[in-house]
C-alpha cells in the first residue's frame, strides 16, 4: 500500500489559476457557486467522473489547478448543457468545461494517447488549415496519434459509409482561407487579453 500526503497546504493552491478561471468565458459567475450540486445531479456522465462538476467548480475557484486539470471530468463532458440550463446561479458550466479543456491542452495535462484532447487539437488544426472538416481524414489522424489498431476494427463501418456516399477521402476546403486564420487569431488574442 502506497501512502501519499492528502492534506492540502495553501502553497498547493495556485491563486493565478483561480483568477484566470473567473475571467474566462464561462467562468464569470463561478464565484457565485452555492455548491448545491444540481450540476452533478443532472449530468448524465457524472457517474464516470472522478470529480463531479460541483467539486470542479469549488476546486477551480479555490485554485487547485492540478486536481482540476488532471481530472477526467473535463474530458467526459459532452456539452449537453443539462447543468447549465438548471444552474440556480446561472453559471455557464459547459463553457467553463471548454475553457478547462483548452487550458489542460495548453499545459499538457492529459494522459498520453488520450483520444479526446487529440481529437480537439486535430479538429482545430484542420479548421485552421482548410476552413472545413473532412471527417475521414480527421478520424485517421486521431487514431494514428492514439490507437492505430482501433482503425482496423472500424474499417468495416468506414467502408459501408464510403459506399453509401456518407464519407469521402477528398479533402474539403474553403476559399479565402487566410480570412479564417485571421479570425481565429483575433479570437485567440481576445482570449489572452481577457485572461488578464
Amino acid at each position: 500500500m502506497e501512502l501519499k500526503r492528502t492534506v492540502k497546504f495553501e502553497a498547493d493552491r495556485d491563486p493565478e489559476f483561480a483568477r484566470w478561471i473567473s475571467h474566462t468565458v464561462g467562468g464569470e459567475r463561478i464565484r457565485h457557486c452555492l455548491q448545491c450540486g444540481l450540476c452533478s445531479g443532472s449530468c448524465p456522465l457524472s457517474l464516470y467522473m472522478d470529480y463531479t462538476p460541483r467539486r470542479l467548480m469549488h476546486l477551480s475557484r479555490e485554485g487547485f489547478k492540478e486536481e482540476v486539470l488532471s481530472s477526467s471530468s473535463i474530458w467526459l463532458c459532452t456539452a449537453c448543457y443539462a447543468c447549465m440550463v438548471e444552474c440556480p446561479k446561472k453559471i455557464n458550466i459547459t463553457h467553463l468545461m471548454y475553457a478547462l479543456k483548452q487550458r489542460a491542452i495548453e499545459e499538457r495535462f492529459y494522459p498520453k494517447r488520450f483520444p479526446i484532447p487529440v481529437m480537439a487539437q486535430q479538429f482545430s488544426r484542420m479548421v485552421r488549415g482548410s476552413g472545413r472538416i473532412t471527417e475521414s481524414w480527421l478520424i485517421v489522424r486521431v487514431f494514428l496519434r492514439t490507437a492505430i489498431w482501433r482503425l482496423l476494427g472500424m474499417s468495416g463501418l468506414g467502408l459501408r459509409l464510403f459506399r453509401a456516399g456518407r464519407m469521402t477521402l477528398k479533402p474539403e476546403k474553403i476559399e479565402r482561407r487566410a480570412e479564417i486564420i485571421s479570425m481565429l487569431d483575433s479570437v485567440a488574442a481576445t482570449r489572452k487579453e481577457l485572461a488578464l
Binding site: 492534506v7 492540502k8 455548491q35 467539486r55 479555490e62
Partner: protein, 672 residues
C-alpha cells in the same frame, strides 16, 4: 365586582337539566370516536335532557343550536365534548351568557387532544370518551354560578434593559402617552448594538441609526431613564405591580453633571490604565470615564475599584477641582432604592456572547491574534480603540484572516442551538476586513444560514467579492508550522468538505464568530418576575407561534434576544409587539380574571396560620380579632396551594370544590 343575580343562583339550585353536545371536528374526532354512540350513551345519563352531535360545534350554526336548546328545553347546564378548553371554552361560555345562563355552568370535555388524536383503536377511544362524558355530567350538576373578577390596570410601564429592544419598546410606549420607567444595569443605554460598527445586510452604521433613538430616550418627558440600576423586587399582579429598583452610586450627581469630561482630563492618572469595558479590554480608561462618546445619559461614572480616593482616601481630587462650581462629583453617594408602581412589565434583558475559552482548540486567550467577533466589531469601529484601523495585538496588519463560524453554537459540548446571527455578521465582518485591509479572507462554515430580507443577496455579493468559503467546522488553530509558508503564522486545520480533503490554511488573524447565550443571571431574573425559562435558559414565551412576546405571567412581556437568538430587525419587531400588548392591556383599563379563587369557611378555620406562608402571592392575611385567616380575592391567583395545605380542609376553591372533583373522579371510574 358585579354581583351574581339571585335568579342565576336560584336556577342553579333547580334540578339539573343538562344538554350534551358532541363535536365531530370534521374527521378529527369523528374519524376515531363513534360520535353517535356517545350521543346515545349521554342521553341516558341522569339529568341529561338533550344530547346531540354536530360537525363543527364551534361554528355559528353549532352555537345557535346550543342557544336554541337552552331556550326550548330550559337547560341549566351545558357540556360540550370537543377540543381543548384552551381553544373554545371562551366561545361556548359566550353562548351560555347569550342564552341567559351563567357562563360557569359549562363544562368542556376534551375528546380531541385527549382522545381522538392520541388513540388508534376506535372501540377503546369511544369507551374512554363515554367515561369522560359521564364524569363531566356528574361534575357539571354541582357547578355554581361564578363571576369573573375585574382589576384595574395601572397605565405606567416598566421596561427592563436598555438595548435596542428596550429602547424601542420604551419609545413606542412613551410616544403613545404612557409613562415608562426604563431600567438599565450599565451606566449607559445602547446595549450590544452600540458596540457594532456596521449592520447587515445594508451596511449602515450602527451608531448612526441607534444614537438618535438613544438621545430620544434620554430627553423624552415621559421616560424615566434609570441607568446603573437593577430591579431587585417585584410584587403584585397584572395591572398592579410594585417594583423596587436599586440605583447604584455613580459618585456623580446626574442632575449636575454636564458631560463635559473635564474631570476625566484632570484625573490624577495622566495615562488611562484600566481596561475599558466598552471596548472589551482592547483599550484603557481612567477611573472616571464616560463609557463611550455617544453614551446616554451623557454623565461620567467613577469606578470605586480603581479610583485612588476610594482605595486610599488620599487623592488630590483634581477631578473635583476641574468640576468646580458645578459640584457634580460626590464621593459620599450611596445606593438608593426607588419604589415604583406599574401595570405592565417588558423584559428586554438581552444576551451574552459565548466565551471561546471553553473551546480551547481555537486558542483564544493563548494566541494574541485570535479575536472574538465582538472584539473585531470594536476594532473596525471608527470610535474604537484603533480608530477603525485593523491593527493586530502584535502590531501588524493581517494579510490573511480566517473567520470561524458556529463557535459555541450547534455543538452538543457547549450550546446546541444555532445562534442565527453569526452567519450574517461573519459575512459583514468578511466584507469590512477585505475592504479595509485587502487581506485574503476565509470563512469556515458548517451551513450558510441567511434567511431574511436581503440576506441571501448579501451572501451572493460576498461570494462575488472573492472571499473564500470553506465548508467545514475548524478542528484546530495552532502555531505549529509543517510547511515553510506556515512559519510564524496561525494555521487553521479543517476538512474542506466540498473539496473532500483536509486543508491547512495559514492566517495572521483568526476571528471567532461566537454565538449567543442567555444572560448568566437569566434564572434569577425569571424568578424575580415569576416567568419561565426554556431548558437552554431563554425566557419562555406563552406560545411559540401565537403569543411570542407574552409570558405565563399576565402583564409581563418579553422582547429581543432574552427570548432566543435574534438580530436587530427581529428584536425591534418584538419590542414593538410587546409595547402593543402592554398598550392593549392599558387601554382596556381593566382585566378580567378567572373566578377560580380560594375561599375560607370561617366556621371551620382554626386560625392555625399554616396557609399564610404557603401562599406565593401574599394573598392570605390573619384577622387578629376573629383569629381566622382571610383571602384577598384580588391577589389570589387560584393556584390551590392553600387548599391542599389546610389541615382542617376549611379552604375550598371556586370551580374546583372537593365535591366537584370527587364527582368527576367517580364519574370516570364508574364503568358502565
Amino acid at each position: 365586582m358585579p354581583e351574581i343575580p339571585s335568579s342565576a343562583i336560584e336556577s342553579s339550585r333547580e334540578r339539573p337539566r343538562i344538554g350534551v353536545y358532541v363535536c365531530h371536528c370534521g374527521t378529527n374526532i369523528a374519524g376515531i370516536v363513534d360520535v353517535r354512540a356517545i350521543v346515545e350513551f349521554a342521553a341516558k345519563l341522569p339529568g341529561v335532557v338533550v344530547s346531540r352531535d354536530y360537525k363543527y360545534m364551534c361554528s355559528d350554526p353549532g352555537q345557535a343550536l346550543i342557544q336554541q336548546d337552552i331556550a326550548e328545553h330550559h337547560l341549566n347546564r351545558v357540556i360540550v365534548a370537543s377540543c381543548s378548553p384552551l381553544l373554545h371554552e371562551a366561545t361556548f361560555r359566550r353562548v351560555l351568557s347569550r342564552a341567559g345562563l351563567n357562563a360557569f355552568l359549562l363544562q368542556m370535555v376534551n375528546i380531541r387532544e385527549h382522545v381522538s388524536w392520541v388513540h388508534l383503536n376506535q372501540r377503546e377511544a369511544t369507551e374512554k370518551t363515554k367515561d369522560l362524558v359521564r364524569a363531566a355530567v356528574r361534575r357539571v350538576s354541582l357547578h355554581k354560578p361564578l363571576q369573573k373578577r375585574r382589576v384595574s390596570i395601572n397605565p405606567h410601564v416598566l421596561v427592563v434593559g436598555g438595548g435596542i429592544a428596550g429602547i424601542h419598546a420604551a419609545l413606542t410606549l412613551a410616544e403613545a402617552g404612557k409613562q415608562v420607567y426604563l431600567v438599565e444595569r450599565e451606566p449607559t443605554i445602547g446595549g450590544h448594538m452600540a458596540k457594532f460598527d456596521k449592520t447587515f445586510p445594508t451596511l449602515d452604521c450602527a451608531a448612526c441609526i441607534l444614537t438618535p433613538k438613544m438621545t430620544a430616550v434620554g430627553s423624552h418627558p415621559r421616560i424615566h431613564l434609570w441607568t446603573y440600576s437593577e430591579v431587585v423586587r417585584v410584587e403584585g399582579y397584572v395591572g398592579n405591580y410594585k417594583v423596587k429598583v436599586r440605583r447604584k452610586p455613580r459618585y456623580v450627581i446626574e442632575d449636575l453633571c454636564l458631560g463635559c469630561q473635564e474631570c476625566v482630563t484632570a484625573c490624577v492618572y495622566k495615562e488611562a490604565k484600566n481596561p475599558d469595558e466598552f471596548n472589551l479590554g482592547l483599550s484603557k480608561r481612567k477611573p472616571v470615564y464616560l463609557p463611550f462618546p455617544q453614551a446616554v445619559p451623557q454623565k461620567v461614572v467613577i469606578d470605586p475599584q480603581t479610583c485612588i480616593q476610594f482605595k486610599s482616601g488620599k487623592c488630590k481630587k483634581t477631578c473635583v477641582e476641574a468640576c468646580g462650581d458645578r459640584k457634580a462629583i460626590d464621593f459620599t453617594q450611596k445606593e438608593t432604592i426607588e419604589d415604583i408602581e406599574v401595570g405592565t412589565i417588558i423584559l428586554a434583558t438581552g444576551f451574552k456572547t459565548f466565551d471561546p475559552v471553553r473551546n480551547p482548540y481555537y486558542g483564544y486567550g493563548r494566541y494574541a491574534n485570535v479575536y472574538t467577533s465582538l472584539e473585531v466589531e470594536r476594532l473596525i469601529n471608527a470610535s474604537g480603540p484603533t480608530a477603525g484601523e485593523i491593527v493586530l495585538r502584535d502590531g501588524g496588519q493581517p494579510k490573511a484572516v480566517g473567520i470561524i463560524h458556529c463557535v459555541g453554537s450547534r455543538d452538543a459540548n457547549t450550546n446546541r442551538w444555532c445562534s442565527k446571527v453569526c452567519c450574517m455578521y461573519s459575512l459583514k465582518l468578511a466584507h469590512l476586513i477585505k475592504e479595509r485591509t485587502g487581506a485574503e479572507v476565509y470563512n469556515f462554515y458548517i451551513d450558510m444560514r441567511t434567511p431574511g430580507k436581503g440576506y441571501e443577496e448579501f451572501y451572493d455579493r460576498l461570494l462575488d467579492e472573492g472571499v473564500h468559503f470553506v465548508r467545514g467546522r475548524v478542528a484546530e488553530v495552532s502555531d505549529w508550522a509543517t510547511h515553510p509558508s506556515e512559519k510564524g503564522r496561525l494555521v487553521i486545520r479543517v476538512e474542506d468538505t466540498l473539496a473532500a480533503f483536509v486543508r491547512r490554511i495559514p492566517v495572521d488573524m483568526v476571528v471567532l464568530s461566537v454565538g449567543m447565550e442567555p444572560q448568566p443571571d437569566a434564572q434569577d431574573v425569571r424568578r424575580l418576575f415569576n416567568i419561565s425559562c426554556s431548558t437552554e435558559g431563554w425566557f419562555l414565551e406563552r406560545h411559540p407561534k401565537l403569543a411570542p412576546v407574552s409570558t405565563f405571567t399576565e402583564g409581563v412581556y418579553i422582547a429581543g434576544a432574552c427570548q432566543g437568538p435574534k438580530d436587530i430587525p427581529d428584536s425591534v419587531a418584538q419590542a414593538g409587539a410587546a409595547a402593543a400588548e402592554a398598550m392593549a392591556l392599558i387601554d382596556a383599563q381593566f382585566v378580567e380574571l378567572e373566578p377560580y379563587t380560594a375561599f375560607i369557611s370561617e366556621d371551620q378555620c382554626s386560625g392555625c396560620k399554616t396557609c399564610i406562608p404557603l401562599c406565593p402571592y401574599q394573598a392570605i392575611s390573619y384577622m387578629e380579632e376573629k383569629k381566622k385567616a382571610a383571602i384577598n380575592e384580588v391577589l389570589c391567583k387560584g393556584c390551590g396551594t392553600c387548599v391542599a395545605g389546610c389541615p382542617s380542609g376549611s379552604i375550598q376553591q371556586n370551580f374546583f370544590e372537593d365535591e366537584e372533583i370527587f364527582e368527576e373522579i367517580e364519574g370516570v371510574l364508574a364503568y358502565a
